[in-house]
Amino acid sequence: MRRRWLPLIVLALCWAAAPARAEHADIDLRVMRVDSATGESLAEASASADTEPPQGGLHPRPLFKTRINQPLVLQFFLTNRYPHGEKPAVRVRYFIVREAKIGQKNVPDLSQGTVTAGCFTLNMKPHARVGSRVAFTIKKPGLYLLRVQTENTDSDHEHFSAIDLEVK
């Protein structure tokens, strides 16, 4: 196989772990308006990890304003900080879905359609990492929720990170 530059996500996943925190997951979630030719970020918003319950988490969500049909990229890295062994079949799900208002606490019904979505299932050991970078556009104006979340961690809470998108 021809040698080549390692991709961004591989680099980030190889990266030495950040200092441990009390949280069970670190999440770095970003949404970027990008230059379609180079992929370079022209404007962006970012959010870190929050927990549920309570519904909607503890922290207010950032708001990212953009326009229809602009080239956008979502990117996240999630690092497992749970130190006490491997958790089987944990899901990490991300999605962009229409919402009724900025900062709404409940997650809209994903079965009604998403702009984009993805889900990974893995046995999550301490310091395991999951990341994605997805290019997308939004065709219709409105309010949207970008969210990445853990599921099935066999815990009394789950972790997530979220950003509101206002598309004009």
Binding site: M1, R2, R4, W5, L6, P7, L8, I9, V10, L11, A12, L13, C14, W15, R30, V34, A37, T38, G39, E40, Q75, E86, V92, T114, T116, A117, G118, C119, F120, T121, L122, N123, M124, K125, A128, R129, V130, G131, S132, R133, V134, A135, F136, T137
Partner: protein, 162 residues
């Protein structure tokens, strides 16, 4: 985004690739579909001396929503293989069946990765949606990294966007 010095990256990559060959085998089902059209690709061994595979080809129209779904399972492993990176990407290429992997930079359409330990029977799966707005040829590929010499495995197919 934080940046990593190139030298550090090379060292980390070398450490990952320098694992002893435990002889792990991986099975992969990678399915890509849009509407009623679908193609599925299965596992191939990667590395020096491996024979280039003939990839399935899916033809779609620009702007169609594409759904990719995969399952990767460790079918055999003499010992657990630690910290294997499962890497998925969709990137533009010059032609179908292109042998050389395109460079993955910030213009990549989709890229995802996760790290996991594998013993025989361990599995991971994933699914995601994406849209290819521009006509051209795209490579969709799922691959292991850090599984050890002789164990690196991938599944790939081409998508032609009209």
């Amino acid at each position: 985004m934080r940046r990593v010095p190139a030298l550090l990256v090379c060292v980390l990559a070398a450490l990952l690739s320098a694992k002893p060959a435990w002889g792990a085998d991986f099975a992969i089902d990678l399915k890509v579909k849009t509407g009623k059209a679908a193609q599925i690709a299965h596992a191939h061994k990667a590395g020096i001396g491996s024979k280039p595979e003939r990839r399935p080809v899916l033809e779609i129209k620009a702007g169609q929503r594409v759904h990719a779904q995969w399952q990767l399972r460790c079918s055999a492993a003499a010992q657990p293989v630690k910290d294997v990176l499962i890497h998925f990407f969709v990137v533009r290429e010059k032609k179908t069946g292109q042998a050389a992997l395109p460079r993955l930079d910030k213009t990549v359409t989709v890229e995802s990765a996760l790290s996991m330990d594998f013993k025989a029977g361990a599995k991971t799966d994933g699914e995601l949606d994406f849209v290819l707005d521009k006509a051209g040829v795209y490579l969709v590929r799922l691959e292991t990294r850090g599984a050890g010499a002789g164990s690196e495995t991938y599944a790939a197919l081409d998508v032609i966007v009209h």
